[in-house]
């Protein structure tokens, strides 16, 4: 009896959550930003086609991405078309354009490199957040939802071993993450900056990551 009740309650919560995700994302525009090889093209490809490209090219000049219609389990989403931008610092002007037009900003970074203490990755992260903060100061960009997505976690052995919550806590307490989150909150005037971790080595893992992102949109 209790088991049936639990299934019904969890079903209602799930349905309510899907409903909220659809409302929160329907017709919205995404900006997918991040340094080179952080997974921007993979994420956009997964959102548009439902699969990770097996063979793909570096993104140089900005590429159009068709309207996103994502069907994930019971979730059927239509998100406005966006662009796939280069990850080079020379593309900051392109990033700004995407940022200005977006409702939700997904900033990707190499979680594996940050965890390893890679100075280059940290320096780049700081430079990117500095720019994002500058753009956020525009009146039109205030209170924009920004998500920090740590990708390539599969390269870190402890990702599979540790419980998801512990791993995320550990990542969130890294000095650089705390510093950048503080900077985003203080200077962008935004609320809680969400950090999501995952990987896109397989379609299943990409789906998990996308679901985590979507869930965070409404939480």
């Amino acid at each position: 009896m209790w088991q049936i009740a639990a299934v019904v309650v969890s079903g209602i919560i799930m349905w309510w959550q899907w409903d909220n995700i659809v409302i929160a994302l329907q017709g919205k525009r995404l900006a997918v930003l991040g340094a080179r090889r952080t997974g921007k093209t993979s994420l956009l490809s997964f959102l548009t086609t439902g699969s990770i490209p097996s063979d793909y090219a570096q993104t140089t000049s900005t590429e159009k991405v068709q309207k996103i219609r994502k069907k994930l389990k019971e979730l059927d989403l239509k998100i406005k078309k966006c662009n796939d931008v280069s990850g080079d610092t020379a593309a900051y002007a392109e990033w700004k354009e995407e940022f200005d037009q977006a409702d939700l900003v997904l900033y990707l970074l190499r979680a594996d490199k940050i965890l390893m203490g890679d100075e280059g990755a940290k320096k780049r992260f700081e430079a990117d957040i500095y720019h994002i903060c500058t753009w956020s100061k525009d009146e039109a960009n205030k209170d924009k939802k920004i998500f920090i997505i740590g990708s390539h976690c599969d390269n870190d052995e402890s990702f599979k071993k540790k419980p998801k919550g512990d791993y995320l806590d550990e990542f969130n307490h890294l000095e650089i993450i705390e510093k950048m989150k503080r900077k985003l909150v203080n200077e962008c005037g935004g609320g809680n900056i969400k950090v999501i971790l995952g990987c896109m080595d397989t379609n299943e893992n990409a789906e998990k990551l996308v679901m985590d992102i979507f869930k965070q949109v409404v939480s």
Binding site: R37, Q58, T60, S61, T62, S86, D88, A90, A93, G120
Partner: protein, 167 residues
């Protein structure tokens, strides 16, 4: 012509800054203004333009008398991704497309060598094919324009004749 082209390629190690060539010169790392301008010009074409040729690793996109050719080099980056070379330039309806095509093919080849890449000879041929497509498109455009001008002239003459008959 070669000096009017912008050439761009991402570094294969994904760490070093991208390679740029503008006005015939390699852009230094600290020349962020020109580097950003190069990205913006090329991106405007690929973002708003129409792809008129996409075959075997060569893609030609045009937008308001500007073009972007994307050619895959033989080499891949450290992550195993295909590494394209971008060439941005302009043309007009009166341009000699064959000259542009030759200049683009030569410029991409030289730029590739400069940054330690190689372009397949088939790709060089495909670059020329892509510009042949552009040439055809421009000829059709010209023919349509001439047709409309002729139609307008004929209509004007007819209207004048009708007006004269009524007088």
């Amino acid at each position: 012509m070669k000096d009017k082209l912008i050439l761009w390629a991402q570094a294969l190690d994904n760490l070093s800054p991208d390679h740029f060539q503008m006005r015939g010169l390699e852009l230094e790392i600290d020349n962020s203004n020109d580097r950003q301008e190069a990205v913006s010009l090329a991106s405007k074409v690929t973002k708003f333009g129409v792809c008129i040729f996409d075959n075997g690793g060569v893609k030609l996109t045009i937008y308001r008398q500007h073009f972007v050719v994307k050619v895959l080099s033989i080499e891949r980056d450290c992550a195993g991704r295909l590494a394209p070379i971008i060439c941005y330039g302009g043309y007009s309806t009166d341009s000699d497309i064959n000259t542009i095509s030759d200049s683009v093919a030569a410029a991409i080849g030289e730029f590739a060598l400069k940054i330690g890449r190689n372009i397949q000879s088939e790709h060089v041929e495909l670059i020329r094919d892509s510009f042949k497509k552009l040439k055809k498109k421009l000829i059709v455009k010209k023919k349509i324009m001439i047709f409309f001008i002729v139609v307008i002239i004929i209509l004007a003459i007819l209207l004048m004749m009708v007006a004269r008959d009524h007088q």
